[in-house]
C-alpha cells in the first residue's frame, strides 16, 4: 500500500467545522491508485462526510482488508489509526476493535473481492453481529489489484477487457445484507457525490453496521463497453430510490445543496427518521410508495430494479431501532479498554472463597 505524503498548503479561507478543522485535516496520503479510479472518488466523499460530521479524527479507526479498495484507508484521515489487515478478514478485526473500544468510530473499507468471495462469511457475520461500524464496499466487479479477474459481483454477460464473458450469477451485497438482517443498507455510485456524501453521513451515525455498496468503476480493468460496472453503464441505469439527507443533532455546517434534491424532481414523499445519536435522516423517495423502513419492500424494489437491468441506489433500508453489538452484549458504557485492573480482577479473597467449589 503506497501512499505519498501530500504537500501541506493550507488555504487561509478554507471553511472549518465545529472542531475547527478544515477539510484538509481529513485528508490522507496521496493516492497511488490509477488515475480516474472510482475508489478515489469514494475517498473524497468519505473525507467530505467526516468533515461535515466533524468526526474527531483521533476517535476514528480505519479498517480494511486487501485490494485496491482496501488501500484507500491510507488516503483519508491521516490523523486516525488505520489497520490494513488480511484479505477478506477486515470485518473480524473491526469487530474486535469495536468490542474493545466502543468509543471508536469504526470505518471499514472493502472491495467486492474482499467482501463477496474470500470474505463473504465475515461480511455476513459482521452484519448479523451488528458491529457498530460503517462498512463500505467499493464495488467494481473485478479484482483490481490482481489485475482484472472477475469478482463475485460481476453480472452475467459482463465482459473482461480481454473479452472473457462472465457466466456465473452475481452476488448483490445489498440484497444479501437485507436477507441476513442488516440494519442499514445503502447504495450509491462513486461518481455521485451529491448522493453518496449524505448516505455516508447517515451511515456513520447509524448505531450498528451500516453497509454502503458503492459502484466504483475500475478504469483499468472494467470500464469498457459490456461492463455493467462501468461509468457509462452506471450513469445510464442508476435508479435512485431514496435520497438521504442526514442532519446531525446540532449541525454547525452549511450543507445546502447536499442531497436535498431527488434525482428526477418528482413530487417526492419525505420521511424523517430519528437516529440513536439524536440526528435525523430525511429520506426522500422518488416513488411515493417506497418505504425504506420496511425490509420486504426494500427487497422487492431492489429486485424489481435488477430485473429491469437497473441499479437501485439511495438509502435503501434503515432500522433506526436496531440493537448493535454492544447493546446485545450489554457491555459497560465505559469502553473495555478504559476499565482499570481493579474493575476486572476479583482479587485474592474472591479466589480463596472460590477454591471451596473445587474441594
Amino acid at each position: 500500500m503506497t501512499s505519498i505524503a501530500k504537500p501541506i498548503a493550507t488555504h487561509p479561507r478554507l471553511k472549518t467545522n465545529s472542531l475547527g478543522l478544515t477539510i484538509r485535516d481529513y485528508e490522507g496520503g496521496m493516492s497511488t491508485l490509477c488515475a480516474g479510479c472510482g475508489h478515489d472518488s469514494v475517498t473524497a466523499a468519505i473525507v467530505q462526510a467526516a468533515w461535515e460530521l466533524a468526526l474527531p479524527p483521533h476517535r476514528a479507526a480505519k479498517m480494511s482488508g486487501i485490494g485496491c479498495s482496501s488501500k484507500t484507508t491510507a488516503y483519508f484521515m491521516k490523523q486516525s489509526h488505520g489497520f490494513n489487515s488480511v484479505h477478506g478478514r477486515m470485518p473480524s478485526v473491526a469487530s474486535g476493535a469495536a468490542a474493545a473500544n466502543r468509543g471508536l468510530n469504526v470505518i471499514g473499507i472493502s472491495g467486492d473481492g474482499d467482501s463477496l468471495s474470500i470474505g463473504l462469511g465475515q461480511l455476513t457475520h459482521a452484519i448479523r453481529r451488528n458491529t457498530n461500524m460503517l462498512y463500505v464496499i467499493e464495488n467494481n466487479g473485478v479484482y483490481g489489484l490482481t489485475k482484472g479477474q472477475f469478482s463475485a459481483s460481476a453480472d452475467i454477460g459482463s465482459k473482461l477487457k480481454k473479452g472473457e464473458t462472465n457466466e456465473q450469477p452475481p452476488i448483490d451485497p445489498v440484497l444479501l445484507a437485507l436477507s441476513v438482517g442488516a440494519t442499514f443498507v445503502g447504495r450509491s455510485f462513486s461518481g455521485d457525490k451529491q448522493q453518496l456524501v449524505p448516505i455516508l453521513k447517515a451511515a456513520i451515525s447509524h448505531r450498528g453496521l451500516a453497509l454502503v455498496d458503492v459502484i466504483s468503476p475500475c478504469v483499468t480493468f472494467n470500464n469498457h463497453e459490456g461492463s455493467t460496472k462501468s461509468y457509462q453503464y452506471t450513469r445510464d441505469h442508476d435508479v435512485a430510490a431514496v435520497e438521504a439527507d442526514y442532519i446531525p443533532v446540532c449541525d454547525p455546517i452549511e450543507i445546502t445543496g447536499l442531497g436535498a434534491q431527488s434525482s428526477n424532481g418528482h413530487a417526492d414523499s419525505l420521511r424523517v427518521v430519528q437516529l440513536h445519536d439524536g440526528g435525523t435522516v430525511r429520506l426522500r423517495s422518488t416513488s411515493p410508495d417506497y418505504d425504506p423502513t420496511d425490509r420486504a419492500s426494500a427487497h422487492q424494489h431492489i429486485s424489481a430494479c435488477q430485473r429491469r437491468g437497473e441499479i437501485a441506489t439511495g438509502l435503501l433500508f434503515v432500522d433506526s431501532g436496531s440493537r448493535s453489538l454492544h447493546d446485545v452484549l450489554r457491555t459497560s458504557s465505559t469502553p473495555l479498554v478504559d476499565l482499570r485492573h481493579e474493575d476486572l480482577c476479583p482479587g485474592s479473597a474472591a479466589l480463596d472463597s472460590l477454591m471451596k467449589r473445587f474441594r
Partner: protein, 599 residues
C-alpha cells in the same frame, strides 16, 4: 501398586448414561479422605451410546500421572467386555453387573471376578428406565465404596452438597448408594486387599481441570475480550470464562458487563477479533485446538509482523486433520512455534497441570503486552479437561498487569515524531499507541512491507531492518519466558527432557528408575524460546531422552533447530496413542535401552 492408598481402577460404561457424575463422586470422596487421587476421563467423540471409561488412580506418594496398570476394572458395558477383562493386571479384579449370568467374554484365569446385580437392584428399587439407568451408576459407586473402604460419611456429605436443593433426587441417590454398598457387603468380601485409609495430604489442594484454571487466569489477568469457535477440547475454557465473568464482572446495579465474549463464525474470525481487540488495547484471547490453529495461520503472521499482542490457548488433541478429537497429544509444537508463512516465530508456554495453566494464563497476557506479539499457551486435552489435584490457586493482590510500552498523549507531546517501529531500547520492542490517542500517535498497521515509521516500503534495507528487529525481539523473549524446572539426582548421567502434561509420569519414572539403580535428572521445559540452560543440560548428560506425545519427536526437532544440538545427542521417547502418558512407557524405554543409543 496394590497396597493401601496405592492402586488404580477403571470403570467402563456407555456415554450419555450419567456415569460422569458418579465417577466424579468417587474421585471427590477419595480426595476428601485426604488421599491424593487423579482421574482420567477417556471419552468418545460422541454424545450418546459409545463406550467411555474413567480411570481413577490413588497414590499416597502423590504420583498422579496415568496409572501404569489397573488393579480393577468395573465392566458395565457389554460392548467392551473383551477389552475390559484384558485390561486387568495379573492377579487383579473384575467387577461386573451380575443381574445376568457371567458372560463368556468375562471369564479369565488369574483374576478374581466379582459380581453385584446392579441392574436388578435398581429395577426393583426404582421406577422408570431413565431413573434406573442413572441410579445404576450411583449403585456401583456404593459397591466400590464398600470394596475400597470409602468413608460413607464423606459420600453422604457430597451427595447432600450436590442435591441439597432437590430432596427427591437426594433421597434416590442416598438409596442407590446404600443399595450398592449393602449388596457388596453382603455378597463380597469387603474391603479388597488394596483399599483406602484416611490421610491428610489434600487439605491445601483442590481438584480442578486446566481449562477452568486457565479461564480463571484470564479473568485475573484482566482479559476483557474473548473470541472463539467451539471445538473439543478447548470449548470448556470459554464456557468457564463466561461463567466467571458473569460471577465477577457484571455490575450489580447497572447490569453492565465488563467483558465481551464473541462466538465467531470460525477460527479465522476468532483470531481476527482477538487481534483487532489487542490492537485497540484490550487484553484479548482466543481458545482453540489443532484444526483451529491451522485456520489461524494467516492472522498469526499478521500479528507477528505488525507487533500486535494476543493470547492463543491451544488445547491440543490428536491430529492430523480431525484426528481423534477426544484423545490427548502434544502434536502442535512445531506448528505453533513457526505458525504462518514467511519467517515467523512465536513464544509458547507449556503448563504441566491446571495450577500452572492458571499461572501461565496470567503470564501469557503480560508477555503478549510486553512483547507485542501472539503468545501461545499450549495445554492439552488431558490437562484441559481432566480434574487434577493441584495446590489451591493463589493470587497476589499487588499484581499489576505489565501493559508493555504504550505511549500516552502526554508521552507523545514530548516526541518530535512518533515512529511506531523504532527500536529505542535495543530490545526489539518499539512503543505503540492505541487508537483514540490521536495527534502524532496515529499510525497505519499493515501486513505489507513497512518501515520503522509504519510507512509502506518495498525497500530491502528497510524491510531487513524491520524483520531483524523482530528477531532481536524474539531473542529478548528468552529473558522473559518461564525457565525450565529441573529435578536433579546426585551422580545422574542420564537426562530426561520433557514438557507439559508428561511431567507427572516423567517424575514418577525418575523415582522408579532410581529404584532400579538408574539415576536421571529431569528437565521440564516450560517455554519456547529455549534458554541456554537447556542446551547446557543436553550437553552435560551422557545420554538424553526427550519424552513427548507426538509421533515425530517435534520437541526434539525444535531443540535441534533452535539450539543447534546434534540429533544423535537426544533419544526420543514418544507416546502418541492418544492417552495420557504412563511412567511405565518411560521406564521401559530408558531401562530397556542401552544408554546412549540413538533412535
Amino acid at each position: 501398586m496394590n497396597g493401601v492408598n496405592d492402586f488404580a481402577f477403571k470403570i467402563g460404561t456407555v456415554n450419555g448414561t450419567g456415569s460422569a457424575s458418579a465417577n466424579g463422586l468417587l474421585m471427590r470422596s477419595i480426595f476428601r479422605m485426604g488421599i491424593p487421587v487423579s482421574g482420567k476421563n477417556l471419552f468418545p467423540s460422541n454424545i450418546q451410546g459409545l463406550p467411555t471409561w474413567y480411570e481413577i488412580r490413588v497414590n499416597g506418594d502423590g504420583h498422579l500421572g496415568r496409572a501404569p496398570e489397573l488393579d480393577m476394572v468395573v465392566a458395565l458395558n457389554p460392548a467392551t467386555y473383551a477389552k475390559d477383562v484384558a485390561a486387568v493386571r495379573e492377579g487383579g479384579y473384575l467387577l461386573y453387573d451380575s443381574s445376568w449370568p457371567l458372560p463368556k467374554q468375562l471369564e479369565r484365569e488369574g483374576i478374581t471376578v466379582l459380581g453385584v446385580p446392579f441392574g436388578k437392584l435398581c429395577v426393583e428399587a426404582f421406577e422408570g428406565d431413565r431413573e434406573r439407568t442413572l441410579l445404576r451408576n450411583i449403585a456401583y459407586t456404593g459397591s466400590l465404596a464398600a470394596l475400597l473402604g470409602i468413608d460413607m460419611q464423606v459420600v453422604d456429605e457430597l451427595l447432600n452438597e450436590t442435591f441439597g436443593k432437590k430432596p427427591k433426587l437426594l433421597d434416590a441417590n442416598h438409596k442407590a448408594i446404600r443399595l450398592g454398598y449393602d449388596a457388596a457387603v453382603e455378597l463380597l468380601e469387603c474391603p479388597l486387599p488394596f483399599r483406602l485409609e484416611r490421610m491428610d495430604a489434600t487439605s491445601d489442594s483442590i481438584l480442578i481441570d486446566g481449562n477452568t484454571a486457565a479461564a480463571l487466569g484470564a479473568v485475573y489477568a484482566g482479559a476483557t475480550v474473548g473470541a472463539w469457535y467451539p471445538i473439543t477440547p478447548s470449548t470448556s475454557l470459554m464456557e468457564a470464562f463466561t461463567g466467571f465473568c458473569q460471577k465477577y464482572r457484571v455490575d450489580p446495579e447497572t447490569n453492565e458487563r465488563k467483558f465481551a465474549i464473541l462466538q465467531a463464525e470460525d477460527e479465522l474470525a476468532a483470531a481476527g477479533i482477538t487481534i483487532g481487540a489487542g490492537w485497540a488495547g484490550a487484553r484479548a484471547f482466543t481458545n482453540t485446538s489443532g484444526p483451529g490453529i491451522s485456520l489461524m495461520q494467516e492472522f498469526l503472521g499478521l500479528a507477528y509482523y505488525a507487533d500486535i499482542p494476543a493470547v492463543f490457548f491451544n488445547i491440543q488433541r490428536c491430529g492430523p486433520s480431525t484426528g481423534m478429537p477426544t484423545r490427548t497429544q502434544q502434536p502442535d509444537i512445531l506448528s505453533m512455534a513457526y505458525a504462518s508463512h514467511g519467517d515467523t516465530k512465536h513464544p509458547i508456554l507449556f503448563p504441566a497441570d491446571p495450577g500452572e495453566a492458571f499461572e501461565m494464563a496470567v503470564q501469557a497476557f503480560d508477555l503478549a503486552d510486553r512483547l507485542q506479539t501472539p503468545i501461545f499457551v499450549a495445554s492439552d486435552l488431558d490437562i484441559g479437561m481432566n480434574d487434577w489435584m493441584v495446590k489451591k490457586l493463589e493470587w497476589d493482590d499487588s499484581y499489576t498487569p505489565d501493559r508493555g510500552k504504550v505511549l500516552t498523549a502526554e508521552d507523545l507531546e514530548k516526541l518530535a515524531r512518533f515512529s511506531r517501529y523504532r527500536d529505542v531500547d535495543g530490545d526489539g520492542i518499539a512503543a505503540r499507541t492505541l487508537p483514540g490517542v490521536g495527534g502524532k500517535g496515529a499510525y497505519f498497521v499493515r501486513g505489507s512491507g513497512h518501515d520503522m515509521h509504519a510507512d509502506y516500503t518495498e525497500d530491502s534495507a528497510a524491510y531487513c531492518e524491520l524483520v531483524d528487529r523482530l528477531r532481536r525481539k524474539f531473542a529478548h523473549a528468552i529473558t522473559l519466558v518461564p525457565e525450565p524446572m529441573v529435578i536433579k539426582q546426585e551422580g545422574a548421567e542420564i537426562g530426561l527432557i520433557t514438557l507439559g502434561g508428561c511431567d507427572a509420569a516423567v517424575r514418577e519414572a525418575q523415582d522408579l528408575l532410581r529404584q532400579q539403580g538408574i539415576l536421571a535428572d529431569v528437565m521440564r521445559i516450560r517455554a519456547f524460546p529455549f534458554q541456554d540452560e537447556v542446551k547446557e543440560f543436553i550437553e552435560s548428560h551422557e545420554s538424553v531422552y526427550v519424552i513427548e506425545q507426538n509421533r515425530d519427536a517435534q520437541l526434539r526437532s525444535l531443540l535441534m533447530i533452535e539450539l543447534g544440538v546434534p540429533r544423535e545427542s537426544m533419544t526420543p521417547i514418544l507416546d502418541y496413542g492418544g492417552l495420557p502418558l504412563t511412567a511405565r512407557v518411560v521406564v521401559e524405554a530408558v531401562a530397556g535401552a542401552p544408554a546412549g543409543v540413538p533412535a
